[in-house]
């Protein structure tokens, strides 16, 4: 180097000074490119955050009010002659008693001046049909209250609830409003007497779907989702892991396995509705499995999730360093032992991460489930995988289509629940990845 410095040239014959200039000019350009690249990156992230925040703010903004419900405190006298004329507290008799009349009587007691049939009907409309069930449940839970005068919180109708939450404005002309001036006047008198309360909307989390928004909940859809996901997991996970192990560790590398590999990758790109059509044709029409059942939904989603898990599992099996296998083989372990004692445990965090991501995808999937009838209006909570059910995203879809104003906030609230599940699942995937991350 010293003699090149002396002559001012390097072996290529170029003057040394020149090289320095070229390099420093290049460096400036490289740094500029780097700065530009970083700016693009920041802009992209900024945009993503903006979009995400807008989405979240919109959803939470419309949805949060669904977590509360306007309730009316009613004083109800439980006349024994109405509920249990024979007095033997037979549950059958108790559950068929006319509680609606009791609720209506209690309302009439509040507003004695209401006499006309039409007005009475309006007055009865202040509280939800659910009020009747509430009273019945109270009696069935504790028959000893019969004969007493009890104070009970019953849900008010969805329109009143929406009015109280400010979603229906009193400014609008009466003809365009779902709540009449008279109803508003009644409501004000009730408020003056401090009978109107806003409580946490337990119903939303504990009941199934309903035509009445104030009685509708996501529990049915949630159970449906859980049942469907269980079926999906039970089918997809073992199948996918077995496939991945076979392809990575045992299959010979030839044209057939190449073909299989290409097809698995293609399968991952098939639109989900196609799997729905397949499910309809094969599982329902050919095998005659029940419609709208989590069993079939889970099977369809398993088909959809399989390639995702296979690809993730193969990648993480491949990532297990070959010298682990060599070490075990060198000690005389059989190939099965190598797979189950070394490769699989080391690949498991990656496989689980892929599985969770696949399951999260499946949890949010709607289209294929529509094809197999999981879009039906189902009030009852499904008790097993063959009961008719719906799932969270389909519930969102159903509610978003409903005309009642009160379903708007419930749609958003259901989305919030769905998103929280997805966030929890993804967080768990990240946790697994971090917790079991290995540097070889």
């Amino acid at each position: 180097m010293s003699d090149t410095a002396g002559t001012g040239t390097v072996k290529t014959g170029l003057p040394r000074k020149n090289i320095n200039e070229v390099v420093s000019a290049g460096i400036r350009r490289r740094y500029a490119a780097e700065r530009r690249f970083r700016a693009y990156g920041l802009a992209a992230i900024g945009f993503a955050i903006f979009a995400l925040t807008t989405l979240l703010v919109t959803i939470v903004g419309t949805g949060y009010s669904a977590f509360t419900q306007t309730m009316l405190e009613l004083e109800i006298t439980l006349y024994p002659q109405d509920i249990d004329p024979e007095g033997n507290r037979d549950p059958k008799v108790l559950s068929t008693a006319n509680y609606q009349a009791l609720v209506r009587q209690s309302l009439r007691d509040l507003f004695p001046e209401v006499t006309t049939r039409q007005e009475r009907r309006r007055l009865n409309g202040l509280v939800s049909d659910g009020a009747t069930f509430q009273v019945r449940r109270a009696v069935l839970d504790d028959p000893s209250i019969i004969g007493q005068r009890i104070s009970i919180l019953v849900p008010m109708s969805d329109d009143i609830d929406q009015f109280m939450k400010g979603h229906i404005s009193a400014e609008v002309p009466e003809s365009d409003r779902r709540v009449s001036d008279q109803e508003i006047a009644w409501l004000e008198r009730l408020q003056d007497r401090n009978l109107v309360h806003r409580t946490f909307n337990w119903t939303f989390f504990t009941s199934g779907d309903s035509r009445e928004p104030e009685l509708a909940g996501i529990w049915g859809a949630l159970v449906g989702s859980l049942l469907t996901m269980s079926v999906t997991l039970a089918l997809a996970f073992p199948l996918a892991v077995a496939t991945a192990i076979y392809l990575e560790e045992f299959a010979p590398k030839n044209r057939w396995t190449d073909l299989i590999e290409v097809n698995i990758n293609n399968l991952a790109a098939v639109p989900s509705i196609v799997f729905g059509l397949l499910g309809l044709a094969v599982f329902l029409n050919f095998f005659g499995l029940p419609r709208s059942a989590p069993l079939v939904g889970g099977m369809v989603l398993a088909l959809m999730t399989l390639p995702t898990i296979i690809i993730a599992a193969r990648a993480s099996i491949k990532a297990v360093p070959p010298w682990i296998r060599e070490a075990a083989l060198g000690l005389g372990a059989s190939r099965m032992q190598v797979v189950f004692q070394h490769t699989l445990p080391l690949a498991m965090p990656g496989i689980l991460t892929g599985t969770i991501i696949g399951m999260a995808q499946a949890l949010g999937e709607t289209a294929p489930l529509l094809m197999i009838g999981m879009i039906a209006f189902i009030v009852d909570i499904p008790q097993g995988v063959t009961d008719p059910a719906t799932v969270l995203p389909v519930q969102v879809f159903l509610w978003s289509d409903a005309p009642e104003r009160a379903f708007v906030e419930r749609t958003s609230a259901a989305i919030m629940v769905l998103l929280s599940f997805l966030i929890v699942m993804n967080a768990f995937a990240i946790y697994l990845r971090k917790r079991f991350e290995r540097r070889w």
């Binding site: 590398k253 682990i324 060599e326 070490a327 060198g330 005389g332 372990a333 059989s334």
Partner: protein, 282 residues
């Protein structure tokens, strides 16, 4: 993998013992060789990596394999416990026997072979498990111990023989990957000897280690010689000279010279060996 042993044998019409007689390296002491390789060819796909290797490896000796990079030392070593089986497209022809048993014999399960011919790799490769579990793995899968105490004894003696016991006796249940490179390599040796193999193959066991760790392992190899037959690949001429009794010089897939280490290092009969040992090529 395709085997052509029986064909070869039939063609040659020569039994193994007779052929041994032709070799210059016939066991002087009259000991029966532990490993006998005859006319071993290895192919990776179409490419031939080893050409007609004949070698007798004597028990309780250290045999060093030396030669320039890519000459097929590792390939030969991996033939001896059939680790080449797992390499796609690798084909071994010829005959190899360990302790008198043909290793390509259909009746011999490769698992048994590998239990008898242990291997220590170039890069220390402990399992990501505890020190104890690393050593206990082999005995466990082969069912060498009938009780927990017995297993513990095997592990402890193996660690002791590998000269590691002092350093790890307080951290038996910490991950083996947390040890230093030299300790890891000795752990791998302990793991290999825990199943009491007859032969231990070592592929450049010290190449990732500093001189002090290397010295420890060399010392260990010398001690292990008492109970085991050791084949070691090394690029370090001094190491070969220090630890081995016999040395094999490979070049371009052929075994050019094989003989007593003293003789090879002081008075090699082949010109190329001399050049390689003195550092003129390779």
């Amino acid at each position: 993998m395709q085997l052509a042993n029986s064909e070869n044998a039939a063609k040659d019409g020569v039994g193994m013992p007779e052929k041994t007689g032709n070799l210059t390296t016939e066991s002087k002491a009259g000991r029966t060789p532990m490993v006998v390789a005859r006319d071993v060819d290895v192919f990776y796909g179409d490419k031939q990596a080893l050409f007609g290797i004949d070698m007798d490896i004597l028990p309780n000796e250290v045999t060093a394999l030396i030669g320039p990079s890519g000459c097929g030392k590792s390939t030969f070593l991996r033939c001896l416990n059939r680790m080449n089986d797992v390499i796609e497209g690798c084909r071994v022809e010829g005959r190899i026997s360990v302790d008198g048993q043909d290793i390509f014999d259909r009746a011999l399960d490769v698992v048994h072979l590998r239990a008898r011919v242990g291997m220590v790799f170039q890069k220390p490769n402990p399992f990501p498990k505890s020190v104890f579990d690393n050593v206990a793995y082999g005995p466990k899968i082969h069912g060498l111990s009938s009780s927990k105490d017995e297993l513990e004894e095997i592990v402890m003696t193996s660690l002791e023989k590998a000269g590691l016991i002092e350093e790890v006796k307080d951290r038996l249940h910490q991950p083996g990957t947390g040890l230093s490179g030299g300790q890891q390599q000795r752990l791998c040796i302990a793991r290999a000897i825990a199943i009491q193999p007859e032969v231990i193959l070592m592929d450049e066991p010290c190449s990732a280690l500093d001189p002090i760790a290397t010295a420890k392992i060399e010392e260990l190899i010398d001690e292990l010689r008492e109970n085991y037959t050791i084949v070691i690949v090394t690029h370090n001429m001094q190491q070969a000279a220090r630890v081995s009794q016999r040395t094999a010089f490979f070049h371009l897939g052929k075994l050019l010279e094989f003989g007593d280490t003293d003789q090879i290092f002081t008075n090699p009969s082949v010109e190329r060996t001399r050049d390689y040992i003195t550092g003129r090529f390779g």
